[in-house]
């Protein structure tokens, strides 16, 4: 390894050392962690933007790749984590939760995602994945006074470990078949197809578990419901990007020759997720559970996009992932804004009459819900549009219709939130609930964030050209 190679991993080094330093400083200055974390993220953003690689560099003996795609995805992680910190500040303070560990654990989890995004062999992939999830388990139980947090954390821990086990099992098959951990060597190895296919099967299952695709979805609603909203916001957004990137790398770089096999696995997982996620979301009264099932439905679309990717390209799916995470982050931001000390806006009925109490928040929620439902001219529509275009172009118009039928069924539960906000009167208890828990800065950022769903929906080409640029045209 040459020292020069280290310059490519400056962002990772920065995040790792900053997280450690914040942990130390936090012992003396309880309030410093928030600002320092934001400064760290800002520095990481500047560092990454200043040195966007034009070509792909593989370093650390082939285990770590730095290319444009990876760095833009990391950039999105920095921005989104910054938003999460800003939105959760007051929420955490009100729950006596505003401590150094929240920021440190989040930063370490993000470090895991960064490693995952850049990994090019199975070892660094596994390392990244574990670093991603371990801090999350701890984050869920940071508030000790509620038993449901512990329940969610244990459930997540057990399922997460099982997923890791399945993944490792798959990796061992792949290693047995090819004798290598390197994605590139797995791709070119001459080997017995059956063993490799078994490996593929387990690896895809492991990834589906991380993604919470049906039938590996059971843990997601419980974890979403059982975590403090600020942590749900983290679990529901950033890991999706990282897991998507590693899925992309695995499928194209390690299993590129087996695309006929994994395409059909993804098709089955994707369509099941779209169907079951959207139908089960209708039955939910808890908005976090509803968003969990909606996530499952959206994951289905991402998998459907990957299914058509070998013939139609990956741009659509990358676009979908970024847009989805951006939308869902706004929805959690609004849930936090409506919650306050001693009151979690968890049930859809908690949003009754929001349009009268807080017209601007209600309007933002309206935009977010319509965007998640995929109604034009909001950003979410173009994400669906691109995926469906790929599906139709690849020659499966009927598949597109089936996916859309479930989307229409799904639009019902998004509209239900709008119905609660606009068409219902708030109960007396709700009317006395005072202002939500956002700082002024967070309120402003959240407003811009939600309005962007509309504005970028009018000029959908902006993010699209970013994605095109990222994957090199």
């Amino acid at each position: 390894m040459r020292i020069a190679e280290l310059s490519l991993v400056y962002p990772e080094i920065l995040v790792a050392s900053a997280a450690s330093i914040i942990l130390l400083i936090g012992v003396y200055f309880k309030r410093g962690a928030y600002v320092l974390s934001l400064v760290t993220l800002l520095a990481a953003i500047i560092m990454t933007v200043a040195k966007l690689p034009t070509m792909s560099h593989t370093i650390f003996a082939g285990g770590f790749v730095v290319d444009r795609f990876a760095n833009v995805m990391k950039l999105s992680l920095f921005v989104l984590l910054g938003l999460i910190f800003i939105y959760s500040k007051n929420y955490m303070t009100m729950r006596k939760f505003m401590n150094t560990e929240f920021f440190v654990l989040s930063l370490f989890s993000m470090l895991g995602m960064m490693i995952l995004i850049s990994s090019r062999n199975f070892l660094s992939m596994y390392l990244g994945l574990e670093l991603l999830v371990l801090p999350l388990y701890a984050l869920i139980v940071m508030v000790k006074d509620e038993s449901k947090y512990a329940e969610a954390a244990i459930k997540y821990f057990v399922i997460g470990s099982m997923g890791a086990g399945i993944l490792l099992y798959g990796i061992s098959f792949v290693y047995g078949a090819t004798g290598s951990f390197e994605f590139a060597e797995v791709m070119t190895a001459k080997t017995s197809p059956l063993t490799l296919q078994l490996g593929l099967l387990f690896v895809v299952a492991g990834i589906a578990l991380e993604f919470a695709a049906v039938p590996f979805h059971m843990w997601l609603p419980d974890v979403y419901e059982g975590s403090p909203t600020a942590v749900t916001m983290l679990i529901g957004t950033l890991p999706k990007i990282a897991v998507f990137v590693i899925t992309y790398r695995l499928l194209t770089e390690a299993f590129g020759n087996l695309d006929m096999q994994w395409m059909h696995l993804l098709l089955a997982l994707g369509m099941l997720s779209i169907a079951i996620g959207n139908v089960l979301a209708i039955a939910q009264d808890n908005i976090k559970r509803m968003l969990a099932y909606s996530t499952i439905g959206h994951i289905g679309f991402i998998l459907l996009g990957l299914f058509t990717a070998p013939s139609a390209g990956y741009i659509a799916t990358v676009y979908y992932v970024l847009v989805y995470v951006f939308m869902v982050l706004a929805s959690f931001g609004i849930i936090i804004a409506v919650s306050k000390q001693g009151f979690e806006a968890e049930y859809i009925s908690d949003y009754s009459g929001l349009a009268k109490r807080k017209p601007w928040l209600a309007f933002m929620m309206l935009l977010v819900m319509l965007s998640l439902a995929g109604v034009p001219p909001l950003l979410g529509f173009y994400a669906k549009f691109l995926i469906l275009q790929n599906v139709v172009t690849a020659g499966y118009p009927l598949l597109a219709i089936v996916a859309l039928v479930f989307t229409v069924i799904g639009s019902f539960y998004y509209l239900r939130v709008i119905k609660a906000m606009y068409f219902e009167e708030s109960s007396k208890e709700l009317a006395t609930v005072a202002n939500g828990s956002l700082t002024t800065l967070a309120g402003l950022v959240l407003s811009v964030h939600s309005m962007l769903l509309l504005v970028l929906g009018l000029v959908p080409g902006v993010i699209l050209s970013l994605c095109l640029n990222m994957l090199g045209g």
């Binding site: 741009i315 319509l370 109604v375 034009p376 001219p377 529509f381 173009y382 549009f385 691109l386 469906l388 275009q389 139709v392 172009t393 118009p397 597109a400 219709i401 859309l404 039928v405 989307t407 229409v408 639009s411 019902f412 509209l415 709008i418 119905k419 606009y422 068409f423 000029v459 959908p460 080409g461 699209l464 050209s465 095109l468």
Partner: protein, 495 residues
């Protein structure tokens, strides 16, 4: 003459921006001002319109999403010009009527929703890019969803969910069809779609997908069931815009997408569509007779009248050898669209005027209104007769032309279509008799307040428009003739 201002974009975006501004800063007279400006813009558009060609005019073209080959393309021909005029005119009337029909606190949001919708609806009629069309087509549903849900009657939530889920369900087939055609044409321009020759098998599939998408909007029997609920529960303005404009989007979609792009599919399945249209005319006409609720009655009458529109369009395929007759049928269908917009809108305004005074729509709670409000009774009479299709009113022109064309195809079609003359008269005039004539049985009726100034303005403008088209239909036929002839040539060029 060159116009440097992008006129079509202004007609679309000015009301949308004004509506957004109104939501932030309430201004009582802004909606009227915007409506008048929009009307002025549309009239200047009409003045600079060349009726001697079927080509799209005032084209605007900009790259929108180059990576997807989506363009922001707008254009206007005779058909869209008239529909846009209707849209702007009806929204203008809704804004005038809102002065007394809507609570002061809600006035602002109410009018803002309508003028935003006006812009979006004009966008549907101007769009020449299929995806742009779809975006406007869907975006328009959001304000309507809120209008019905916020200001509607007691069952408004049920009605608005039924409405929006129905239409979402319809448009998903439209989206997939557009994607498929876009894949074939390697472009999303509607004009490129027109040049496409799609294979017969694909045309048949696309026909059913698109028929379903647009039939929900029209609405055709049997996918009409959202309409009576939505129209009945919507506030007056909502019912007017739904009946006058939203229903026309479905028919307009058929004109733009189905007939020219899928002529073989349409010809192949013209029979079933004609039968569905005749069912709408006959069966739904019978259903209308027994309604107890005035708004529901008008809603069913809308479905029956829209049956003429679909009949007029698809009858052309049954007389491939006589192009001029087919043109008459198609023109009749378009005139019926416009006339129905005016007449059903007028009837909903009439019911709305009673509703704000009495807060009931039930026919049997009225009776003898003519004794208290003679002027109102006169206007209502005119609109009721226009709904029946009395010669001299706009209702006559479209129906007559469609029946004329269907007679050429088969006397049986004409016979069943003509049942409307009996049925329409029965349900409309019977309702009129029960509401307006007779003795006053309900005390509230005797204390009805006279028409306000703004209501008189609305009724007068509508009466003038309905009579003008009735006695001088050439006013509409003049800009329509070239596009309709061209469309029939596209449709019948299948031999």
């Amino acid at each position: 003459m060159n116009i440097t201002v992008p006129l079509l974009s202004t007609i679309i975006w000015l009301p949308i921006i004004a509506g957004a501004v109104m939501l932030l800063w309430p201004m009582r007279y802004l909606p009227i001002i915007i409506s008048i400006i929009s009307l002025g813009l549309c009239i200047s558009l009409g003045a600079h319109f060349d009726a001697s060609t079927w080509q799209m005019q005032h084209m605007e073209n900009m790259a929108w999403v180059p990576a997807l080959k989506l363009n922001y393309t707008l254009g206007v021909d005779g058909i869209s010009l008239l529909l846009v005029l209707l849209t702007v005119f009806m929204t203008f009337l809704v804004n005038i009527a809102a002065f007394t029909q809507v609570d002061k606190k809600q006035f602002n949001a109410y009018c803002a929703a309508f003028i935003i919708m006006q812009g979006l609806m004009c966008g549907v009629f101007f769009a020449l890019d299929a995806v742009l069309f779809y975006v406007f087509f869907e975006a328009m549903m959001i304000p309507m969803f809120l209008i019905i849900g916020l200001w509607g009657g007691p069952e408004r939530v049920y009605a608005t969910f039924k409405f929006i889920l129905y239409t979402f369900f319809g448009s998903l087939f439209l989206l997939v069809s557009i994607l498929y055609l876009g894949h074939l044409a390697d472009s999303f321009s509607i004009l490129d779609f027109h040049k496409l020759s799609v294979g017969l098998q694909a045309q048949r599939w696309l026909f059913w997908a698109m028929l379903f998408a647009f039939a929900v909007k029209v609405p055709m029997w049997p996918v009409h069931t959202w309409l009576p609920d939505a129209h009945t529960e919507a506030p007056t303005g909502g019912s007017v815009i739904l009946a006058a404009i939203t229903l026309k989007m479905g028919a307009y979609g058929m004109l733009r997408f189905m007939l020219p792009v899928l002529p073989m599919g349409c010809a192949f399945f013209a029979g079933p569509v004609i039968i569905l249209s005749l069912i709408a005319i006959g069966y739904i006409g019978l259903v209308a007779i027994i309604q107890k609720d005035m708004k529901k009655l008008i809603a069913y009458s809308s479905i029956a009248h829209m049956g003429f529109v679909t009949l007029g369009m698809f009858i052309a395929f049954k007389m491939i050898d006589s192009e001029p007759q087919a043109v008459v049928g198609l023109e009749g269908a378009i005139i019926q669209m416009l006339s129905h917009g005016l007449v059903s809108g007028a009837l909903f305004f009439c019911v709305g005027a009673l509703y704000v005074r009495m807060h009931t729509r039930m026919i049997d709670e009225y009776g003898g209104v003519a004794n208290v409000l003679p002027l109102y009774a006169a206007f209502f009479m005119l609109f009721a007769l226009a709904n029946v299709g009395l010669p001299g009113t706009s209702g006559f022109v479209g129906e007559f032309m469609v029946i004329l064309a269907s007679f050429r195809a088969s006397p049986w079609y004409a016979f069943f279509a003509a049942t409307t003359l009996v049925l329409g008269a029965s349900y409309t005039l019977w309702m009129y008799k029960r509401v307006v004539f007779g003795d006053i049985t309900n005390k509230l009726v005797s204390s009805l307040q006279v028409l306000t100034v703004n209501e008189r303005v609305v009724f007068t403008l509508l009466a003038v428009a309905i009579l003008l088209i009735g006695v001088w239909p050439n006013l509409l036929l003049y800009p329509l003739h070239e596009p309709a002839t061209h469309l029939v040539q596209q449709m019948l060029n299948i031999r």
